[in-house]
């Protein structure tokens, strides 16, 4: 046990506390807020420890601990972080924290809601700290299953259908993934399931041809890769606010992170050979997601399709297989995580007031909800890549990296993917123009109240980090860049 385990320990203890506590809303709320504050604190501490130690330490992973768990299968509980995991930990803790504030009014069964929410976050945190294939896979699945109940019980709209679809599709992905993991383990002839150790070995190329597509698709399902993205719009649209935030903000990043850390790191040859297939698929995600978003009228559907497009960009970038693009991919994960979480939080808050999410039924809300309206506009600008907000840094880095390839195929795809920025501008500006500006559609909306203090906390926190990443990306990008190198080193060897 070392201090990284605290990220799993806090949610688990939290669940125990919730299980024993009564259902008084205030108590539950302050418990969860306390716990999520602790998590932010530990994430920030990890960051500082990491920057301090990284100065002289060139090891791939820091703070590693390795405890034997199931000796006959060489399963270890091994944890460790590099720059990528640290920023993901920070992102997760921010979104859990803001998600708790966004679910102040959750009803019914608040206790059960927070219980499942904590299980979900323990899975996500666990995934980012583990370096063992089995442990990683276990946490991955732990993060998936609470979604069924979270959407099914507390969701809106076609929630039962959406919950079932999401769970089954993601579990289908993890089934492919499990075959991939077993193939990696037995194919490499490793005597450990530790990723860093397996990376030193060589998996025969003919096995890689089978297991790379399986692993990549397995993670790609969660990363909303075309054609496996269909769970995302339904799932995100039906989920309660905090769950949409956490799911679109963090869970979809598990897919990208896994593709990068497992599929490409461990099977570099096949990644080279087969990258073109997945580049085309993710390219479709990027463009198709953006076009689909134009067509939608439901705020959550717009944002869900926009997530498909932006998460597609993450996978697109890591498949470019160079330092710059990969750094951009990780930056995009954080940027999209923050932006989309902010979007979902704001949509949830607006929906809580207007009881509709259709942009055709709203208008002129800026007058009555100035705080929410302005934040929405900022989030929108961040999403379409306005300089000084996080989206710009990430997308810029990705496209610069992608353009380093000089061949026709990559160039064409990059240009096509670039066009998604323009399409994003279309749907964001159209959405803002329709429901925030213009004439008031519904007379009932004239007496709406602007954000309450707890909603403001949630929004301001997210905005702050968006600005922080956008105007001074150095604190994150340097660390990410250093940690991307070992993986890229494998790929260009």
């Amino acid at each position: 046990m070392n201090f990284l385990s605290i990220f799993v320990l806090i949610p688990v203890l939290m669940m125990l506390g919730l299980f024993l506590s009564n259902s008084r809303r205030q108590l539950l709320f302050f418990m969860t807020v306390g716990a999520s504050l602790l998590m932010i604190l530990s994430a920030v501490l990890t960051y500082f420890y990491f920057t301090e130690r990284a100065a002289g330490d060139v090891a791939t992973m820091l703070f590693t601990v390795d405890t034997v768990w199931y000796a006959p299968f060489n399963i270890h509980y091994s944890v460790g972080v590099d720059g990528i995991s640290v920023v993901m930990l920070i992102l997760t803790s921010i979104i859990v924290f803001t998600g708790v504030f966004a679910s102040w009014k959750i009803d019914p069964l608040p206790k059960e809601f927070f219980l499942w929410f904590c299980l979900l976050s323990s899975g996500v945190f666990g995934f980012f700290i583990s370096t063992d294939l089995f442990t990683m896979f276990m946490y991955y699945e732990i993060a998936l299953i609470p979604m069924y109940l979270l959407i099914g019980i507390w969701g809106t709209g076609k929630k039962e259908y959406a919950a079932m679809k999401l769970t089954l599709m993601l579990m289908g992905g993890s089934a492919l993934l499990l075959v991939g993991i077993l193939g990696i383990y037995y194919g490499s002839g490793a005597t450990t399931m530790n990723i860093l150790e397996i990376a030193k070995l060589h998996i025969p190329i003919e096995l890689q041809y089978y297991f790379f597509p399986l692993t990549f698709t397995g993670f790609g399902v969660l990363g909303a890769m075309f054609p496996f993205h269909t769970w995302s719009p339904d799932g995100h649209a039906s989920a309660p606010t905090a769950v949409s935030m956490l799911h679109a903000g963090v869970l979809m990043k598990l897919g990208g992170y896994g593709c990068f850390r497992v599929a490409m790191y461990l099977m570099p040859e096949a990644a080279h050979e087969l990258a073109w297939i997945f580049l085309i698929l993710t390219g479709i995600s990027v463009v198709y997601g953006a076009f689909a978003a134009i067509h939608q009228t439901d705020l959550k559907y717009i944002n869900a399709y926009s997530s498909v497009s932006h998460c597609g960009l993450v996978l697109f970038a890591i498949l470019m297989m160079n330092e710059t693009a990969a750094t951009g991919a990780i930056l995009q994960m954080i940027s999209h995580g923050l932006t989309t979480a902010l979007f979902f939080a704001l949509i949830g808050m607006i929906y809580g007031r207007t009881h509709t999410r259709l942009i055709t039924e709203m208008g002129g809300l800026m007058k009555v909800l100035p705080f929410l309206g302005v934040s929405f506009v900022i989030a929108g600008l961040g999403s379409l890549g306005l300089p000084s907000l996080s989206g710009f840094v990430a997308e810029m880095t990705i496209f610069v990296g992608a353009f380093q390839h000089t061949d026709m195929f990559h160039r064409v795809l990059t240009i096509l993917a670039c066009s998604s920025i323009v399409i994003t501008a279309v749907y964001i500006l159209r959405m803002v123009g329709k429901f925030l500006l213009g004439k008031m559609q519904d007379p009932h909306h004239e007496h709406l109240k602007d954000a309450t203090w707890y909603e403001r906390i949630s929004v301001v926190t997210l905005l702050f980090f968006m600005f922080a990443l956008g105007s001074a990306p150095y604190w994150a990008s340097e660390m990410i860049h250093n940690s991307v190198l070992p993986v890229i080193g494998q790929l260009i060897k």
């Binding site: 199931y70 000796a71 006959p72 299953i145 069924y148 099914g152 079932m164 089934a175 193939g183 383990y185």
Partner: protein, 473 residues
Amino acid sequence: MDYSSFLQMHEEFSLLAVMVFLLIFDIFASEKALKYFQPVALVLLTAHTIVNCFPRDAFDIAGGMFHYMPIQTYVKSILNIGTIIVLLQAHKFLNEDANRIKRGEFYFLTLSTLLGMYFMISSGNFLMFFIGLETASIPMATLVAFDKYNRKSAEAGAKYILSAVFASSISVFGISLIYGSTGTLYFSDLATLITGTPLQIMAFVFFSVGLFFKISLVPFHLWTPDVYEGAQTNITSYLSVISKGSAVFVLFTLLIKVFGNLVHQWQPILFGLAVVSITVANVFAVRQKNLKRFLAFSSISQAGYILLAIISGTQMGMASLVYYVLVYMFSNLAAFGVLSVIEERTGKVQMDDYNGLYQTNPRLSFVMMLALFSLAGIPPFAGFFSKFFVFSAAAAQGQYVLVFIALLNTIISLYYYLLVIKAMFLNKSENPIETIKSDFPVKLSLIICTAGILIVGLVSTIYNQISLLSFGM
């Protein structure tokens, strides 16, 4: 002949002592003392379990008729624990006026099937094996028909005995062919004598039907849903866990020890059976509305997953098989426990009756949910680990295609397990099942199962212990 070596059969003698004591107690004890029949029985069984849970060195008795291996102790302990849980759950049923006089019989019959399984597990000769198999089957049929005024129960009893006898007669035919072609029935001699002649392959095919029937693999499963539905729920859970668990273990040892040379013949057979069992059972389970039939199909597909461990045929496969049975026991008994409590109090077994159960019975629904998640293989519950190990054992032998098919099937199975969870947690109901206050024995059994589901996976000691003792047969 030196009969003192017989005394080494600790497990069997100790169980026999418990059985005989309970029989005498039931016949001769006063009305007042009989009130304590069940507690006494359970305490004795617990003592029997604890005394016999320490593995010893391997030995042979009666010239190899009875062959003991350390791992058998664990298998028998798992069966013991399962039996105790089932008996705890049957506590209320046996205290009803109509059944109180038959209580002694219930215990005696249950324990004699257990004894039969003991002998089957430890057999070193086909005759011994067959005696064990029959000792386990025939009382089982009586138990299935236990609720004699219930038409369905009687029908189930008749169905079970007819198909069981049919299956074991085919099995005996197979054994006779083995004897005909080799001239011996001792497992240790057969290992080298079975070389793969066509007659021996035929013998194997006929013989294995008896076990496939017990494990209820497709296409030998047709009795399962009807019998599971008709029998009293506690018997059903006994049938689905204990009877099946012993049979898969025996199948594994026989395939390796006796039919080791036929590996290229039995591997494709089992491959086909595993694929068909898992898929057919899953597809049928989706359509079930009656939860007992539902769990029947679910248990068929679980048996299919166990075959993956058997196909691997390695030490890892054996360890993961025993572990799978252990985990499956806790999960399935938890599900059946909840089912039987609700059926006893309200008579409701349809899935629609479970709508809104969480509102009225949060604890029962919670246990049911854990059980179903564990059966579906969701972490951090034990079922995830057991499934992973079974898949891992098969993948280690390069059976990636099989693993892939099995994994795709886990999605179907997750779908139908989620249907029950959906009914309990998501659906609303006009008249949900009223709040049930379960009595202490049932609570205890559910607590044991829940603890098992939560602990067995996360604590690796249990698997490691099993793995230590799973070596060459």
